[in-house]
């Protein structure tokens, strides 16, 4: 295992310390339990937006803490959801009296830990609302499974909820908007290489030199199926078609197109994929009105890409465009 770290058990803690030093005006780090809050938290009277999950997906979530996006982020160990006490303490630290939205990616661990934290927060008199993100079309959605995973749409939900909260919207509105974003967002990804969880010390799976995993998640788990490596344009089709057919996205609609690197993918390659995804979307009669290209929800050093398509309405675009000032996403300020 080749990584820039000291002891694996110190990785998340040391990275948080680094974030605190790198972004002093932007965020504060709480050590035990571990969480990050925006520098001016709690903001009186404002709905707070909190997210969290296993580490290893950076900049998600810590890189999105700041004005116009998240009030707090709770990082678990690598690929391990945070614990109820972490989430509870962060919730308390950012509650400005108007309630706290928990943005939760749909994984059993995240759901249960957030659920317990929500129950504990309620006991303390803090109102929370949960927005569950489950946008991954690679996974079958059924009452009898854990349901779809939350992947790329998480970034969009966090941005749009964060802006709505910043604009003074009420708890129920922010949560409803977040759910609407989730309902209108679909994602899918592929991996060209595995990643290595520091504690495990070796790659989570092995891939032949001409193989890829299709329908990959963001935790180094294998995908839905293994396939032969294809040219970028073909891979982009393999991702775009299931996405487009799932919502389904309808001709004439406006969309936000998000091409996400899983970690080790050169930006050059992401733009090659963006180009083809844009062409496919246009061929379906969609208007790409907003774009995001880069590594925003990663899986350590995995090579691969995920595509997220969000059918936007005027309100979503307005909040997407609203000023944001975080370590990883910044505009208008």
């Amino acid at each position: 295992m080749k990584k820039l770290l000291n002891a694996p058990s110190d990785l998340v803690k040391e990275a948080l310390a680094g974030m605190a030093l790198a972004h002093p005006g932007l965020l504060r780090v709480h050590v035990d339990p571990a969480f990050l809050v925006r520098a001016d938290a709690p903001v009186r009277g404002k709905v707070a937006v909190l997210s969290g999950g296993g580490s290893g997906h950076e900049p998600l979530h810590g890189g999105f803490v700041g004005r116009g996006m998240l009030d707090a982020a709770c990082p678990g160990a690598v690929f391990t959801s945070p614990t109820p006490d972490q989430i509870l303490e962060a919730t308390r630290a950012v509650d400005g009296g108007a309630g706290v939205v928990h943005i939760v990616k749909n994984y059993t661990g995240d759901v249960m830990n957030f659920e317990m934290a929500g129950e504990l927060a309620r006991d303390l008199g803090i109102t929370t609302e949960t927005v569950l993100v489950n946008d991954d079309v690679a996974v079958e959605n059924s009452l009898y499974t854990a349901g779809r995973r939350g992947v790329g749409a998480t970034v969009l939900v966090e941005k749009i909820c964060g802006a709505a909260a910043e604009a003074g919207r009420a708890l129920a509105d922010v949560a409803a908007l977040g759910r609407r974003v989730n309902e209108h967002g679909r994602s899918m990804g592929i991996a060209l290489s595995p990643c290595t969880v520091p504690h495990a010390g070796k790659p989570s799976f092995e891939l032949g030199p001409d193989e890829m995993e299709v329908g990959i998640g963001i935790h180094g788990e294998p995908g839905r199926r293994r396939a032969k490596l294809e040219p970028a344009d073909r891979i982009t089709e393999m991702l775009m078609h299931p996405i487009l057919d799932d919502l389904p996205f309808q001709a004439g609609k406006d969309v936000l197109l998000f091409v996400n690197g899983l970690g080790a993918t050169p930006l050059l390659e992401l733009y090659v994929v963006f180009r083809k995804a844009h062409e496919i979307a246009a061929a379906r009669g969609l208007r790409v009105v907003r774009s995001l290209v880069g590594p925003y929800i990663t899986s350590l050093e995995m090579a691969g890409v995920s595509i997220t398509l969000l059918q936007v309405d005027e309100e979503m675009v307005r909040y997407w465009d609203a000023p944001v000032h975080t370590a990883a996403l910044r505009w208008g300020v």
Partner: protein, 211 residues
């Protein structure tokens, strides 16, 4: 332990033994999780039980419920992932049954295990054969309940054996809960990591109960 009773010392020995066994098997659990999950189950359990062990030495040994509650709370706040809340719930629910008790008999043990299982299923919504820790704990409880006419030690051993078989029986299953369910059919052919750690815990209980 021919007494048919577990006292607080034995419970502490169980937890200490469990911490050892989890540490010894950290790699194995992680490898099982690598195959159908995200390679963290070993580290998660080891982190949790090492925290528990740290608190155990100083902990008063007069109230089994208090011990189990401490274990549950510690797992809850250190394990994370899916297994954290589930094992946390297991111990917290069991703790309610044995609250204030310096020793517990077979009936209370059975009630505790059953309450733990109920808690896990309420929290995680898993049914038998979903390829989860439930598939080790469920059979263990039925074996323990059915082990009539044998010593407590023997009953615990039979429960552990049932857990082992239950864990092994997850191999052909297609996961319907937890992270492994994302793999669909590809999850078949691998033993569930959580069922395996559950077996290790019950095996440790049997070992502590046999001394």
């Amino acid at each position: 332990m021919e007494s048919g009773i577990l006292n607080a010392d034995t419970v502490v020995q169980w937890i200490e033994r469990a911490a050892e066994v989890i540490e010894e098997n950290e790699k194995t659990l992680t490898e099982l999780d690598a195959a159908i999950g995200d390679s963290d189950h070993g580290a998660n359990m080891a982190r949790g039980f090492s925290a528990v062990r740290g608190k155990l030495a100083e902990f008063p040994r007069d109230d089994i419920g208090a011990i189990l509650k401490m274990v549950g709370m510690t797992l809850l706040s250190t394990v994370g992932g899916a297994s954290g809340p589930l094992y946390g719930t297991l111990f917290l629910e069991a703790a309610k049954i044995s609250a204030g008790k310096p020793e517990i008999d077979r009936v209370v043990i059975l009630q505790s295990l059953a309450a733990g299982l109920a808690g896990i299923q309420k929290r995680g919504k898993a049914e038998p054969l979903d390829k989860t820790m439930v598939d080790a704990l469920g059979p263990a409880i039925r074996a323990f309940e059915g082990a009539e006419g044998v010593s407590l030690a023997e009953a615990l051993a039979q429960a552990a054996e049932a857990a082992r078989l239950g864990a092994e029986a997850t191999i052909p299953l297609v996961a319907r809960k937890g992270r492994a369910s994302y793999l669909g059919e590809r999850s078949a052919g691998h033993q569930d990591p959580g069922a395996t750690s559950m077996w290790l815990l019950l095996q440790s209980l049997a070992e502590a109960g046999a001394e």
